[in-house]
Amino acid sequence: MAEDSFLHLARPLGPVSMGTAPTTAPLNVVIQPQAIFSILDHSLRRNADQERVIGTLLGTRSEDGGEVEVRCAFAVGHSEAEDQVEVDMEYHKQMLALHLKANPREVLVGWYATASELNTFSALIQNFYSGQGDGTWPHPAVHLTVSTEAGKDLETRAYISAPVGVTAERAADSAAFIPVPYELRYGEADKSGLEAIANAKDAEDRSTNIATDIEALERAIEEVLSMIDRVSRYVESVIDEEAPASTAMGQFLLNALALAPKVDPVEIEKDFHNHIQDVLVVSYLANTIRTQMELSNRLATAQLTLGGGDAAGAGEGNQRNQRGGKGGRQRQDRGSAAEETRA
């Protein structure tokens, strides 16, 4: 990812567009992985003759407008020729309406294109998105470019625009794009998903299966072990005077080692047994409940296989009462187990 540093200056606006101009106040753009994935997907599905595709970005804006979070994106059809560009605005409006139905909290924040190039058409489209009425006015519209050229690195850039041009006609199809900083942010919930997706990144067929609990644990432990190996290799080579020593590194490692708690073995033994018993008891009871329930369902309907009749009904009732009693007792057990775990 391009790591650029930013100096953002809010410059005074030209007199031409006073009153209609969006602000160019500093802005921070946060992009969620969902939006990036949508853009990449759209880029894959473009028509063969299209250089780039565009689409609408949706998300939320912080109260002072200083931070824009891009949450998702949808594609909008468009066609570019030598001297003209057509964007399916009708489509954009309908899609936006449909999207807002399902996500009432998200608003229009800008648009994306899948090429790094900024040209006259970009300015035109930008002016549409930041305009009054259907656009993001009075907030600035964010323009995100994600270059998806084959064989090159993906390059993401975010811009907002300021109007330029001396006459109203010139201002309509020109804009000064101002680069703004952006960061990729994902929530706690996305972490596990991203991890699963990242598992496939080195695979030949670009696919992976979803790991079970125990597999995930195994992988995490292996990861930790390899990290420990790396560190101990480094330490050994320092001791052998093969690698340069570093006080900071040593201090850091010492701090990390100091995190290991010092506890009484008897206490550990006690806690360990308490917890392992909780865990096993719950597991045992859960399985018992399962068996009991199936058994009771079987018994409830057993009467019919045994030939049916009134006599069977009575015997049946007893049987079932007995079961009910058992179930009750079991439940108490379970209740106490639950309490035990809570304690």
Binding site: M1, L40, H42, A75, I197, A200, K201, S283, N297, E316
Partner: protein, 375 residues
Amino acid sequence: MAEAQAPITAVKVEALVVMKIIKHGSQTFPTVSTGSLVGMDVDGTLEVTNSFPFPVVETTTESHFDNAAPNPAASAPRAKGNAAYQAEMIRMIREVNVDANNVGWYTSANMGNFVNMNVIENQFYYQKELNERTVALVHDVSRSAQGSLSLRAFRLSAKFVEAFKENKFTSEECLPPPPNNTIGILSNIRYQDIFEELPVEIHNSHLITTFLHQLQGPSTSGPIELPLSLSALEASPFSKSSILTPNFDNLTLNIDPFLEKNCDLLLDSIEAHNTETNNYQYYQRVLGREQQKINNWKQKRAQENATRSALKQPLLPEDEWQRLFKLPAEPSRLESMLNTRQVEQFSRQVDSFVSSTTGKMFAVKGNLLPGETAN
């Protein structure tokens, strides 16, 4: 058309869909969220390539089970307004070259509590009304929060669909056929037969693969200068967590909340089971009483007829009881079946949790008390 094709054996989910489902699920958590899946069916593998959420609209559920919980989001997939929404959305995305075939729907769940009437009815609606080859993806939000993604795909089995269509969930249907199959039992549905689970595979596009490789953070090629002080070390780009640092959430030893939640859910299930059993017991008592009455009546009628024949009078009809007495309707066994399936789900979940937790606990103990691991 379904007959000519191979049965669906696997589900391949694009990374985009995984992320969209996670986003939707965690936004609405703990309420249930639902949405539609689009994609393609390639030789028995259902490729899910895009998805979109359903709007939550207050609608009256058209359930033929009266006690369905009034949860607008959970029943959204089969609501009338959403069928139109879905058709509209699919029409729209077709224009931008997205696969415009509906292949199912998704729902979020909390600790695996997804086996309920809503899910059944939604999937039934999809398999019956829209397209037989559809699938339900279940994303378990709370389980995913523990470290490993939980995304599963289900379909209703053909047997269950057949029975559900005719609403045949009497006890005869739920039993294995007796050796002397005289009553002509058609099916014997067990709780294991409700769902078919399909393996889920996550698939990345080339661009996403590129993207993920770029997210790796600073490259480690070439010699790196050692930091001068502790603060320099902490400020260096290497110690900042990069986007895809391995997730060690599943190493945490956090047992109690999970067990507690599971216990609560199990308790609820037992409660539900008891209600069902009581209903059934009540039915059996009423049935028994009615049958007793009928028998008495039959005996009486037989005696009467015996006297009448002795007196050479015309006999009274013996089957009049069918008009006089009405047998109670048998309650549906579906609820208790679903409940059993749900409990099975919970216990599997607990098992899998226990297996990894005991491992972790022994590891911790071994670390804190070295030398005592031998026993």
